[in-house]
């Protein structure tokens, strides 16, 4: 039986109820969970933290522009196969010449094709129970990739290349599959239809406090509050690349290295802005806003009043 307890996050990861419920549903129904949302909202973190918290096997497949289903499922290693068959020929020749030593094929036999099938993360996850499979950033894949996955997802089985072995998993033992996407390209409808979909909404400032608490439990309240205030103000400026949770946490990591008084001063001066704002245009815009906010009060550049 697959792991289907209702998981609500760990001490390092705050999983909001909606997401927890969607994740739970997907596991019970044996369907993949497709998570979309702004970058830096913890899409990838969910399966990582889940597997860590419950001590489950995790298989990760980071998708790139060159991803193929072969890499994801299994590949037949032709080169190794060729090498081993050459070695067999060589060994036969050596025997003829009366040489004792033989060249090794590393325990593989060219008779058994399975020896040359290199399992990808998907096959590994399907063959072990209670595992977690993360397909990260599927939107980066070539257009045919999600379509090629359809069969495996709806029939829960893979056919190994060349050897023809079938790796199959029952609905109950289906690994928890989490697919993340940044919406850089639309996924095919048929693919989405086989997933439970969840869109992570950006956390409100209360939730953000809790998230910060989880990551940096001993940070001073005032520091946290002030930095979060500024963070949300920045998000409202309509920047090209609005800072996300990840940026806030990075900024706090930097701020934490100072004493409280220094930190607050640094927050007011927006020190370490580079951790929050990532493009030149955005930096300019923030600077401009700082100037107007200070209202020309003697060059006292304060963003936060």
């Amino acid at each position: 039986m697959a792991e289907t307890t209702f998981w609500t996050g760990s001490d390092k990861y705050l999983c909001d109820r909606e997401l927890a419920q969607a994740f739970h549903m997907s596991r019970v129904l044996g369907m993949p969970l497709l998570i979309e949302g702004e970058p830096g909202t913890g899409k990838t973190e969910l399966p990582l933290q889940y597997s860590k918290d419950l001590n489950l096997d995790l298989h990760v497949y980071p998708v790139g522009s060159k991803s193929t289903v072969d890499q994801f499922v299994a590949k037949f290693d032709h080169v190794k196969y060729l090498r081993d068959s050459q070695i067999e020929v060589l060994n036969a020749q050596r025997e003829e010449k009366g040489l004792e030593t033989k060249l090794s094929t590393g325990g593989r036999s060219t008779e058994i094709l399975d020896d040359y099938v290199m399992l990808g993360p998907a096959s590994k996850a399907y063959s072990s129970k209670n595992s977690v499979l993360l397909i990260d950033e599927i939107d980066k894949a070539p257009r045919e990739f999600p379509n090629d996955l359809l069969y495996a997802l709806s029939h829960r089985k893979f056919v190994m290349p060349e050897s023809g072995k079938v790796i199959e998993v029952s609905e109950e033992d289906m690994p928890a599959i989490v697919i993340t996407s940044n919406r850089e390209q639309e996924l095919p409808t048929a693919f989405k239809g086989r997933c439970i979909y969840h869109y992570i909404t950006f956390p409100s400032s209360d939730v953000m406090r809790q998230i910060v608490d989880k990551h940096y439990p001993n940070t001073d309240d005032e520091v946290v509050q002030r930095s979060i205030d500024i963070f949300y103000q920045l998000r409202q400026l309509g920047l090209e690349r609005a800072p996300s949770t990840r940026e806030l946490l990075n900024w706090l990591k930097y701020l934490k290295t100072f004493s409280k008084k220094e930190t607050i001063k640094k927050i007011e001066e927006l020190d370490g802005l580079g951790a929050l704002v990532k493009t030149q245009d955005d930096v300019k815009r923030v600077k401009r806003n700082m100037d107007t906010q200070s209202g020309g009060s003697g060059g006292n550049k304060r963003f936060y009043q």
Binding site: H24, V28, S154, E186, T189, I196
Partner: protein, 445 residues
């Protein structure tokens, strides 16, 4: 059960079909669904595939299950207060404690939503609700009780097969759904608003809700409320000219220009060459097919005030496109139409002979942006020939016109240009169509 729900969803612009119902059955079998909030979550997970669909879906759900109709532009709390469901609930709510009359309306509504979302039911009750509906409907009545049993058996059969969609008799289900649809159009009985149906409404806490709900908990009423008032959960108008609001949607439709492939091809000459060097051991050498370089020429009509309004969003769009995909993008300007020159600066002071563009790689994609309307004498033979040379040379060419499509036929010059170069409206939908048709033209090698 809920046969008419997909239909209701579709009327709200959500793509729903019978599979979502089958999934719901499966989820119920697995004890996943205990409250209305769970149903909301499950339907949402299976039907909503885009954040901009959350809003319409929530509307559909509230309309169908709770009997709350949200009119366009109306706030959820107003719609709730209007609804009969809420009024009935409120009566009970106040009856229980007279003091509650003075409560803040917002708090009351929150309470209502919480209760609705944590309302429990068991499937039997729902099936009863279905019976009520069946009795309401004259056609189903005619078929008699025997048939009802058959229906039940049919439903059971579906339940068994729900895990695997291949064996479900889709025809049968479709027929049933169509019937429900007919009923709906005849009389708006509201399907199975079983929460609203008097007497049987299973409000409040009890059963699973009290005993710690396995799934859901708070039920998501608060979330639903947030969804209603947030524009990010509603679709952008893909038929509107591109503007700041739908620029991202437009960018998404432009993504189609990027041709990606991960095909490998066998490099025969290299394989033979290295094979000979290796003494007859031929190892296949595969090379990655190099991606087609994406090259774009942008021709913008920036003459005259008629185009002013559109130029900024267009430039923002293509600038974003350039940074996103990092490729070759060249922009030229013209006034109304082209003759012998285009200009490479916005003020049109630096003329570039069109031959220079026409000598470029024929695989460039050419986007012409302009309203194509001018005085007829401006579009004389020389100009028509110039456009003809463009469409001859660049197969992947399109004209994006910010003027609404219905007005094209009125302008003489537009009708002429439209015949030379395929013209699309400058909306996310139009651009998507343009790209799709462009992609069908093969690259010249």
């Amino acid at each position: 059960m809920f046969e008419s729900f997909p239909e209701v969803c579709r009327s709200f612009g959500i793509d729903a079909d019978v599979r979502s119902l089958l999934l719901m059955r499966r989820a119920m079998d697995k004890q996943l669904v205990n409250t209305v909030g769970d149903m909301y979550a499950l339907f949402k997970g299976s039907l909503v595939k885009d954040p901009t669909h959350v809003g319409p879906f929530t509307q559909a759900f509230y309309h169908y299950f709770i009997g709350v109709d949200v009119q366009p532009g109306e706030r959820l709390s107003d719609a709730i207060q209007r609804s009969q469901t809420f009024q009935d609930w409120l009566d009970d709510f106040i009856k229980a404690d007279e003091e509650r009359v003075n409560m803040n309306m917002d708090d009351v509504i929150e309470k209502f939503l919480d209760e609705v979302h944590t309302t429990t039911y068991d499937i039997k009750k729902v099936l009863d609700g279905e019976k009520i509906l069946a009795e309401d409907d004259p056609e189903m009545k005619d078929r008699g009780a025997g048939d009802a049993n058959a229906q039940q058996a049919n439903a059971d059969r579906l339940l068994d097969k729900a895990a695997d969609y291949r064996f479900v008799d889709l025809e049968e289900l479709r027929r049933r759904m169509e019937k429900v649809m007919e009923q709906q159009s005849e009389k708006h009985s509201g399907g199975s608003h079983w929460i609203g149906t008097g007497g049987t409404s299973p409000y409040g806490h009890g059963g699973a809700a009290l005993g710690g709900i396995r799934v859901g908990g708070s039920g998501g009423g608060k979330m639903a409320r947030q969804v209603f008032d947030d524009p990010q959960y509603y679709p952008v108008d893909v038929d509107a000219n591109i503007n700041d609001d739908n620029i991202d949607a437009t960018l998404a439709s432009l993504k189609g220009v990027l041709e990606e492939t991960n095909d490998m091809f066998l490099d025969i000459p290299l394989t033979v060459k290295t094979g000979v060097k290796q003494g007859g051991l031929f190892l296949p050498i595969e090379l990655e097919k190099t991606n087609d370089k994406l090259q774009v020429i942008l021709l913008i009509d920036n003459g005259g005030y008629s185009m002013d309004y559109f130029i900024r969003p267009v430039q923002a769009l293509f600038k974003k496109m350039k940074t996103r995909y990092a490729h070759d993008l060249e922009t030229y300007y013209f006034h109304n139409t082209i003759y012998k020159y285009v200009y490479d600066d916005e003020r049109r002071t630096n003329p570039i002979p069109i031959e220079r563009i026409l000598n470029k790689d024929p695989n460039y994609r050419v986007f012409i942006i302009g309203d194509a309307s001018m005085a007829p004498y401006e579009l004389h033979e020389g100009s028509v020939i110039a456009w003809g040379r463009f469409s001859e040379k660049f197969k992947k060419i399109c004209w994006l016109n910010p003027v609404a499509e219905k007005h094209w036929a009125i302008t003489f010059t537009t009708t002429i240009l439209k015949r030379i170069i395929p013209m699309y409206s400058m909306t996310p939908r139009g651009i998507e169509k343009a790209i799709r048709e462009m992609n069908q033209k093969k690259n010249k090698i």
